[in-house]
Amino acid sequence: MSDRAATPKTASERPPTRRRRSRYEGDVPREHYLNVAYGLKSWLFTIDHKRIAILYLLSITAFFALGGLMAVFIRLELLTPAGDLMTSEIYNRVFTLHGVLMVFFFLIPSIPAVFGNFFLPMMVGAKDMAFPRLNLASWYIYSLGGVFTLAAIVAGGVDTGWTFYTPYSSTYSNSAVALTAIGVFINGFSSIFTGLNFIVTIHKMRAPGMTWMRLPLFVWANYAAALIMILGTPVVAMAIFLVAVERLFGVGIFDPALGGDPILYQHLFWFYSHPAVYIMILPSMGVMSEVIACFSRKRIFGYGFIAASSLAIATVGFLVWGHHMFVSGQSIYASMVFSVLTMLVAVPSAVKVFNWLATLWRGSISFETPMLYAFGFLGLFTVGGLTGLYLGTLATDVHLHDTYFIVAHFHYIMVGGAVMGYLAAVHFWWPKMTGRMYSEWWGRLSAGLLFIGFNLTFFPQFLMGYMGMPRRYHFYPEEWQVLNVLSTAGASILGLGYLIPIIYLTYSLRYGPIAGPNPWRATGLEWTTASPPPQHNFEQTPVVTEEPYDYSKPIVNDLPAPGAGAEPKPSPAAPRS
């Protein structure tokens, strides 16, 4: 395949260069992607990747809120040892919905669909994603999947857990499994389309001079995540499809009474769902690389290692699914292999952590909000990853499986890691997306609250789990009440930490100070254009002449004068019309 980046093109049509100043009132560009058109239609039919990102931002926030509400119910129920707030039937539906919404409708789309959509084309210097209409379609598919899942709630909810284990889900459960399964199935295609768009965009749409080794690490991370999306998602789609078929027609694929094998479902499910945990964490790791380099004012340490470790995670991540099935009766030899491979997959994650630490070392670190979240990620992800090793060890997992230890482990990674990274991204790129700064004071406050609230919520769960408290029960022996009360108290702080940003970010849309093109003095093409960016991202196609993360040069909060790049090339990609 020919490498577009390697062929700087010459072109005849060059847009008439206008004086840059004439385009601004103060520092806000006169025309940008937000004000080129108004009205609902201009949003619902947009194929601008930036507007689609905003559509996703709004929808995933809504699902996050709904999933969060379910968490509130869970924590309230667990405040007391007795199951007094709701029945087991309701409790099962509540935690299932919490998991389904958070995993499939918030965390998997979160960073790729919002920040990947918005910034990936800008970071490679393209005008849009390779397939803009497919991109819009992915949002509609996501919404359709959401509608089915919401319909399932109205139809009485689901009680299988987000993992839909058979034969309970396929034969016995008296809840709206089929509707939910169809919702998750449909939603999978939005993920596939996003991933497909990413890969093609990265291969084919890079600006002249944007070689592979000059790609921002956020792009590398999303590339790796996209590989998992297109290779893994269809398999879980098939597994869930078979569950739906089985439920609707009772054919017996997973029903032992009819000769089926329920464990086969677990294999198919985890073949996707373990790699899927990396769909959630890899993009966050990409954000980490951007934020840590920027707020240490240092070139990232070990660029090649970080890029390669993303690919290593994507590859080895496909080979460890059996660690979810150590006690399900799979062959002990299979378990041993999966255990070793699980240890192996921790290595590339650790490579990243050490490279970030090395980047911090002797950097001129400052503590703006995005950086606080990045520090949060660093600590919490490390705890989550290290406890993963306890679970990957066969003997200890027999004790810890299906206890609160698991719950704590994956929340440290998915909330402490992935969501912290997501919030770092929100705060890092908010000025670029909206053109406005938010209140730094409130930003730091809520980052602090989140860190404290998070640990208070989930650290006690490690202890409960270690003491043997099983997950997915709504009552428990009294000896665990203290830890549960701590956890619920932490959850209230956590909730507050999520609410505050919604308020000050919304406030900033109108009253925030003008950000300017590059408020953080960051490197990367997305910072070389106005905030908010113009409809086609750049006034002229950028030409990349330097390595990424060159923080040794002076960077100002302004646009480069037209044609003042290191190589004043004529714009090769003048619009056609």
Binding site: P132, I199, L231, G232, P234, V235
Partner: protein, 238 residues
């Protein structure tokens, strides 16, 4: 900006991208040239087929597991399939792949009428396949071999034969669904071809549809021996 980008901006807003050959040509606004656009759609299509491969791979894995576990029952189930109809369908599909490949060639050579004719031929072959498949399904229904509440089968292996038929219907059903989508898409291409959208300079949609169609055929080439031929030996004893 709106002065420079007038029509494109308008098109972005209404969601109708210059897909049709107006003065802009088929080049979309965000690509530099046709080569870039064509390479992108080709890569996109191959990646899509990769996901399809994983999708069918999932169900074929499940099938392989059960066929290994319940070999005798699966052979018995397979012996109830109609190898003659299956073979006919295989031949029909191979011919549809031929006409599809020729259609791409016709588009490249700017032969509009031939292109339309070949696309319609491909659709007819596809349609014939579906009709025969329908006949087979009807036979299964009459024989009580459709899984679910109406499944009826005598014999010690009945449960696992049920499983075989579950896979038979799931796999051929998903495959048929892919064919229906392909045929529907081709109908749209026939309209566009008749309008003269495609020619030497622009035939990517035909080419991509061709890739998809060949893929669907290849899936059948795997399903046919997996499901039908497996039971052929046992059928002799029936």
């Amino acid at each position: 900006m709106s002065q420079q980008h007038g029509p494109v901006t308008a098109a972005v807003m209404t969601g109708t991208m210059p897909d049709m050959p107006d003065h802009d040509g088929p080049l979309q606004h965000h690509f530099d040239d046709m080569a870039q656009q064509n390479e992108s759609s080709a890569l996109g299509m191959w990646l899509f087929l990769l996901t399809e491969l994983m999708f069918f791979g999932g169900v074929m894995t499940a099938y392989a597991v059960y066929r290994y576990l319940f070999n005798a029952a699966f052979a018995e189930g397979a012996s109830h399939l109609d190898v003659r109809l299956g073979t006919t369908n295989t031949i029909i599909l191979i011919f549809s792949s031929l006409t599809m490949a020729l259609a791409v060639r016709a588009a490249q050579m700017d032969k509009r009428k031939l292109l339309v004719g070949l696309l319609i031929a491909t659709m007819l072959f596809g349609g014939a396949f579906l009709v025969i498949k329908g006949i087979e399904y009807a036979h299964k229904w009459e024989a009580g071999h459709v899984p679910g509440a109406y499944f009826h089968y005598e014999g010690p292996l009945a449960n696992h034969v049920h499983l075989f038929f579950s896979f038979y219907f799931t796999m051929t059903g998903i495959h048929a669904l892919h064919m229906v989508l392909g045929i529907g898409w081709m109908a749209w291409l026939v309209l566009r071809s008749a309008r003269g959208d495609f020619g030497v300079g622009y035939y990517a949609p035909i080419e991509m549809t061709g890739l998809y169609w060949h893929f669907v055929d290849i899936v059948w080439i795997f399903l046919f021996p997996l499901l039908y031929l497996f039971g052929a030996g046992a059928a002799a004893g029936h």
